[in-house]
């Protein structure tokens, strides 16, 4: 559905995107991650036809959205800035886009959406008086007013309180699950991406550094970590001394009554346990720590920095 091939973008002499490739399939929630200035928004702008690529192409349903007005009708957009008109009411803001998209029975549709986002009581208030969270919700409502088939979201929950963040997350999941809307999510909120995305791409300095399903990336980019609980301080000290001599351990840290051990890739935690027991260490508990997307992300970013 969304196809980005060998995409490159140069602003004057500065390369902002370099050979970016990915695909987003129908119904997928795709997370596009990267630090500030990595090129996420530029990629989205190119896909939406706001910018022209210097190299490669970015197509939606095989079309360039910038040149195809008909296809833009099937796309919903929430950019980094809300794109709302502060001097007109919430109702008029939605009604304006409802008219541009040619929505039948638009007054009802606008009223329903305002009710859905909890702003119906404020429908006649000028948007300039709204809080950041209210504006974001309204902008999200505007993005879905025409029942799009693809939704582009740039930091949708930025500046929202936890309750509103949850509402946005639930809405995205609902749109993807019930309406089968494909979602392209630009974000650096790793927790949000982890909760809702099925596939991600990590962009750094204009280049894709990782592109896969989150679970696959967890396995690919992080070393196994185990937490070992020991009966007392003395055992902890003893274990630390023993473990420092092992070459299949990448890292070893103390925490309360235990230690966290990062194993080298491919190493099994059972090998470690047998080693400790054989050396007279009394192991109370051992558990494998599941890696978060944050760990994956940091690992990739650090790896790239080391390579650079």
């Amino acid at each position: 559905m969304i196809e980005v091939q060998n995409l490159g973008k140069k602003f004057r002499e500065r390369m902002v995107l370099n050979d970016v490739n990915f695909q987003v399939k129908e119904g997928e929630i795709f997370g596009y991650l990267g630090p500030n200035g990595a090129g996420k928004t530029t990629t989205m702008r190119i896909i939406l036809g706001l910018l022209k690529p210097t190299a490669g192409k970015a197509l939606v349903w095989g079309k360039n959205l910038g040149e195809n007005e008909e296809f833009r009708k099937k796309v919903g957009v929430l950019l980094e800035d809300d794109g709302l008109y502060p001097r007109i009411s919430a109702f008029d803001n939605l009604d304006y886009y409802a008219q541009l998209y040619g929505i039948p029975n638009r007054a009802q549709k606008v009223a329903n959406l305002l009710q859905f986002i909890g702003l119906y009581d404020r429908k006649n208030d000028k948007v300039g008086k709204f809080s950041k969270g209210m504006k974001r919700k309204l902008a999200l409502a505007r993005a879905i007013i025409h029942d799009p088939e693809v939704l582009f979201l740039d930091e949708p929950s930025a500046g929202l309180d936890p309750e509103a963040q949850k509402m946005v997350r639930d809405l995205i999941l609902q749109l993807s699950g019930e309406e089968r809307i494909t979602i392209f999510l630009n974000s650096h909120d790793l927790d949000e991406v982890q909760r809702i995305c099925s596939k991600i791409a990590i962009l750094q300095r204009g280049e894709i550094k990782a592109y896969d399903a989150i679970d696959n990336l967890r396995g690919k980019f992080t070393k196994p970590v185990v937490e070992i609980t020991l009966p007392d301080n003395r055992e902890v000290e003893k274990a630390l001394k023993l473990l420092s001599s092992l070459d299949y351990i990448s890292d070893c840290n103390r925490y309360n009554d235990g230690i966290t051990v990062t194993l080298a890739e491919g190493e099994m935690s059972s090998t470690l346990v047998s080693f400790l027991v054989k050396n007279g260490i009394e192991v109370e508990e051992i558990r494998r720590v599941s890696k978060s997307l944050e760990d994956v992300y940091l690992e990739i970013v650090r790896q790239q920095e080391r390579n650079a």
Binding site: F11, R45, L48, G49, L50, L51, K52, L65, G66, E69, E70, R72, K73, V75, V77, L79, E80, D81, D82, G83, L84, Y85, P86, R87, I88, D92, Y96, Y97, Q99, L100, Y101, G102, A139, R142
Partner: protein
Amino acid sequence: MRKTLVVARKETRELLSTKSTIFVGLAFVVFFSFLNSLAVIKGKDASSAVSLDSSVFYLSAMIGLFIAYMSTGQVFLREKADRVIETLMCAPVNLRQIWLGKILGVTVAAYSLSLITALVIVVLSSILSSSLLLPTTAILVHVLLVVPALIAAFTGLLGFVQFRLGMRESRILNFVIFAPLFAGLYGAGYVMGGSFAVSWIQVGLLFGASVILLAVSAYLTRRLSKERIVTTIT
């Protein structure tokens, strides 16, 4: 055309609901109309009609242009500065429809005040001179046809330039335009002292110039890209 009208309606509504624009606009209308009405009745009976013509000819256009100048800053420049234009360009509406809709929206708002200006001058001059003073047919055509065309052409060109230029350049340009425009408004009363006669040729030339200017801006807008607008925001 439907989408152009949607944009135009929204712009007009937004401008007319902005209290500062309406307040400043009406204050200018009342102040300058009153000054010019005084200038009109200063002339003797025979020359009053000529003064009324030149007064309506000049002031209706100047007020329209001044309000258009103020509104263009809101409709084109602020929308660009706030990045609202980016979201709009993602909707199924092309750049020319957006540009034309904005011109129409500004023209309706600014022209309404031009019309009020012309009416106020005629009514005030008649009251102050205790006789019914009416403008000539050429002036009526000027007010009904030329003034809206002039406002549209001015808005179109200024809007195009604000879309095309960077934010800093646009602000400098706005400042450069403001000085002669404001001086022109104050100069209206001075010009009236000379009481020049308005001919059909003047009206025709001004109309022709407005149409050409509008056509040139339309041509230039056709060549304007979304990328240019997006990359000149910051």
